[in-house]
């Protein structure tokens, strides 16, 4: 990507979810943002974030507003970060299709994800995770897991860049980044900065 891209805003898929928290994180880093609810709003962006929220709702809305094709095209040429539900939307496929309730991931990140992998809200938790292989973000990171998904398979082109114990919680494939937790809910901006470095 040319140097000019660094002046472009980061897009936030804002059909539903905590996109405003990502907006605050990028603002704190001095980076402009733009809400994306329609295909034309993907023009002229530096990259895109698919936030946390409900993946069933996001699936319905992506298809109703005709964003599925445009999002796939965009991801072929730009960095995209998905957090929690955003990772589910980026995934290749879902474990336990019967319980997927019509969630249709975009099929971009070669991995299999299990929704609500830890249980319901009473099973949500905070834990330190170890990031390695993401320039500028390496080290221990305070992660918030809310009705979080679990990554149960990663393909050969996928690099695990974050672990909770032995379990992958952050993965990268080229300029696609998927996290099972919510960096936007903490004050620690290292992962947002690392994402901007991909852009």
């Amino acid at each position: 990507m040319s140097d000019g891209a660094r002046d472009l805003p980061v897009g936030l898929l804002s059909l539903q979810g905590d996109y405003a928290k990502h907006e605050a994180a990028f603002r704190a880093l001095g980076c402009a943002t733009r809400y994306v609810r329609r295909p034309a709003e993907l023009e002229g962006l530096r990259g895109l974030v698919i936030p946390g929220g409900e993946s069933t709702t996001m699936t319905r809305l992506i298809d109703r507003v005709g964003l599925r094709g445009p999002l796939r095209d965009f991801a072929a040429h730009h960095p995209v970060m998905g957090t929690c539900a955003g990772l589910i939307m980026l995934a290749g496929d879902l474990a336990d299709e019967v319980a997927a309730h019509g969630v249709q991931p975009l099929g971009l990140l070669d991995c299999t994800v299990r929704r609500n992998g830890y249980g319901t809200q009473v099973d949500s938790f905070d834990a330190p995770v170890v990031i390695s292989g993401l320039p500028g973000a390496d080290g221990t990171y305070p992660a918030v897991f809310i009705r979080a998904p679990r990554i149960v398979r990663t393909g050969p082109g996928v690099e695990v860049v974050g672990r909770h114990g032995d379990e992958p919680v952050a993965i990268r494939q080229g300029r696609l980044l998927g996290l099972t937790f919510h960096p936007e809910l903490t004050e620690d901006l290292r992962l947002h900065r690392a994402f901007l470095d991909l852009a």
Binding site: T56, T57, A85, A100, H101, T120, F125
Partner: protein, 303 residues
């Protein structure tokens, strides 16, 4: 993450509770009374469902004591959908809340729609792992609930009426109170006076004055029946809407549910709102709040 409470462990717990409320933003939370309705709601794009035995308009009609729903019915709904499942407890009924927590619901609504179990106290919500949402009519009521541990605030509106007038009033009250506090930033005497008048903790009042918003998500509920109602509440400042009787007391719930979901997303786009408002069939008939006797209103419950 917010930091208000002196115990840092409470802060982490509260952060996760508010975190789930953040994930629901921009969406629609729908009242459902069985698994079949829950599936319709999820299919329409609801971000969560509220499981209850009778929708508020039915509670109005049939009367009697309205209590927490049967756990078996809530469990059926939990099995049928993968979006968060909420359920209601009576105001002050901490044991109904303990039971719902044991059942693993994702959110508890301590709700004026049910018959209050305590005429003085609300549930102290901090000790629970499960987050709570509570209704309010003004900022003082919102901050009293937050100080008890509520992780989400909604307007009370007038549930089961199909009349949006009270939700509008309550949202304007809350936002008006917040705007008014701005002039007292840094004036601790004035803020203390406001806190006393609102019967709310000083620290929360000072935080709101400083930040110009509630420290937890601010949603709308009570009387929302059409896509236009949902979009109006969003334009007024609500971050998400609850739709109770408005969907399953209408002619054709599926399409209406879908339309309200889109109206919540494209709340600021009149052309889109026109498009989704077409061919929806009849909304719920409803009852005008201005024609109700005081004793019929649910919004007055809560302290």
């Amino acid at each position: 993450m917010q930091t208000f409470w002196t115990d840092p462990r409470l802060d982490a717990e509260f952060g996760r509770k508010v975190g789930l409320a953040e994930m629901l933003k921009g969406g629609v939370i729908m009242d459902v009374t069985n698994a079949e309705q829950a599936v319709i709601a999820q299919e329409a794009g609801a971000v969560a469902v509220m499981a209850l035995e009778r929708i508020p308009s039915e509670i109005r009609k049939t009367g009697g004591i309205a209590r927490m729903s049967q756990p078996a019915m809530i469990r059926d709904i939990q099995k049928a959908v993968s979006i968060p499942v909420m359920a209601k407890v009576r105001i002050g009924h901490f044991v109904e809340a303990q039971i719902l927590e044991a059942l693993g619901v994702d959110f508890i609504d301590e709700s004026e729609v049910l018959t209050p179990a305590d005429n003085v106290n609300h549930v102290i919500k901090h000790p629970f792992k499960v987050p709570f949402v509570c209704g309010c009519r003004n900022l003082g009521e919102a901050l009293r609930r937050i100080s008890e541990g509520a992780a989400m605030i909604r307007t009370k509106g007038e549930a089961g009426s199909g009349d949006v007038v009270e939700a509008v009033r309550h949202m304007r009250e809350v936002l008006g109170d917040i705007a008014r506090l701005a002039e007292f930033v840094g004036d601790s005497e004035a803020l203390q006076r406001e806190a006393d008048e609102m019967r709310a903790p000083y620290d929360l009042v000072a935080w709101v004055a400083q930040n110009g918003k509630l420290p937890v998500p601010n949603f709308a509920a009570g009387g929302i029946a059409t896509p236009a109602d949902a979009a109006m509440m969003r334009q007024l400042g609500a971050e998400t809407v609850f739709v109770g009787s408005g969907i399953f007391a209408s002619d054709d719930p599926g399409p209406r549910a879908k339309a309200i979901v889109q109206a919540a997303v494209f709340f600021d786009d009149p052309k889109k709102l026109l498009e989704v408002s077409m061919d929806l069939g009849e909304p719920m008939r409803g009852r005008a709040v201005n024609e109700m006797a005081e004793g019929e209103k649910m919004a007055g419950r809560g302290w």
